[in-house]
Subunit: 228 residues, 2 copies
DNA sequence: CGCGCGAATATGTGCAGACATATTAACCCC
DNA sequence: GGGGTTAATATGTCTGCACATATTCGCGCG
């Protein structure tokens, strides 16, 4: 029975799935569907808008709505704070601050963050542990301009959590890749040299001001999951 | 100036970013904001709904809307068809079908797909090339029940594209990890043994019926990107 | 035949009002 | 004071209408 925009969404999805509406087909207009289902056009609009957002439909003004030919599947993945991620797996989270010093950032870093060459940034290395076992090795360039004076005690609160609580970052990008463990990474994470690591790299910005550039190396066994 | 729900969204985001509304704070009701901005409540609702979806706000009926304390950042990543991915990088896509045979699927596969033990599935190995260079090594278990008779010629069209065009999968999951290249993977991809590979694993379903289980191994240099 | 311009049209968004629903706050009774 | 019931309230969604906007179609003109 049709009840609410979500049942319309599901019904449309069903028709697409059963090939009543094959890929590329122009589907009825919002008004027609509204009449068919006995609801207002706004309700149909809501359903179709969600499906377009999910990549199932393609919509254009005047041209109408059609079933996507090559539906670019979109996956949304949550990027939790490491503490939550560890605790969600039923482990106790702890961390060790390995390095915390001002350093002249190399050019790739300054250029990526839009800072002048040779800028002094904080270089911070943190090892995250799950039940005392190495979980992830975090290396970070942090823009000191955003810190209060005196700075927070990063041996007590992890940089990650301090940032989440004190800086509202609004934009950023994230990328993932695989890399072999360097000597240092192998030692810190307690894996063999050359082991395959899952790398997450993020840069975050508060408007135009760069905040931080993080690289997170996860040891073998780590798996990132998302629903499609 | 306030003009459209998106400017309300941005204004709310600005207030959060400037700490006018710090994390955890209860923000004004939709009605109050509607009055303040001089718009209808539905317009404010649209803006706040998007922000809640993005993880910036937390909303509860009767309890109101508050700024998320630990904003779970959500990244959406597009999962394109490999051909598109290769062509988007300015390369020519081609592929070679390496293996295509019926096999008794091992238990982990059948259990993951919800099939009886010892079920006969198609085992398909495909190497994807970008400008003739190995790009990704695809290994796949495919449920033959979904194929027409006679089956499509997978030397002409890649399994991936045939599925996209002929089967509307509705659900699935996707996960990513890093792994070292096995002897076969190293040989096929032309990398050294033990190289770090970026692995994508997907299972897809058409309603209750399992379709396929794919593992995609990308060589070094591959990077998956998403906007936050 | 080609080109440009205006009309037609499907979606995008807006408004005002209404009811549904989850959750909290207040209250009453013991 | 404690516990359970009731009322209040903010969000969730719907309706019906209206206008904005991007495209496309078709017509007329050179």
């Amino acid at each position: 029975m049709i009840f609410g925009w979500d049942s319309i969404r599901r019904e449309v999805l069903r028709r697409i799935g059963q090939r009543e509406w094959p890929p590329g087909m122009l589907i009825p207009t919002e008004q027609d569907l509204a009449t068919e289902f006995g609801v207002a056009r706004a309700t149909v609009n809501r359903a179709l808008r969600e499906l377009a957002l999910a990549g199932v439909l393609e919509r254009k003004r005047r041209a109408g709505t059609r079933v996507a030919l090559l539906p670019v599947r979109k996956a949304t993945l949550d990027i939790p704070v490491i503490r939550q991620e560890v605790e969600a797996r039923g482990h106790a989270h702890s961390f060790r601050l390995l390095t915390h010093e001002a350093r002249e950032a190399p050019v790739p870093v300054t250029s990526r963050l839009g800072l002048p060459e040779g800028a002094l940034l904080l270089w911070i290395e943190t090892l995250h542990l799950a039940d005392g076992q190495p979980f992830a090795f975090e290396t970070r360039w942090l823009n000191p301009a955003i810190l209060p004076d005196p700075g927070p005690d990063f041996t007590q609160i992890s940089v990650n959590e301090w940032l989440v609580a004190h800086v509202s970052y609004t934009l950023g990008d994230i990328s993932f890749c695989a890399a072999r463990a360097s000597a240092r990474e192998a030692k810190v994470l307690g894996v063999t040299l050359g082991e395959a690591l899952f790398i997450t790299e993020r840069s975050t910005w508060a408007g135009p001001a760069p905040i931080t550039l993080v690289r997170l190396a996860h040891g073998p066994g780590y798996r990132m999951q998302a629903l499609v």
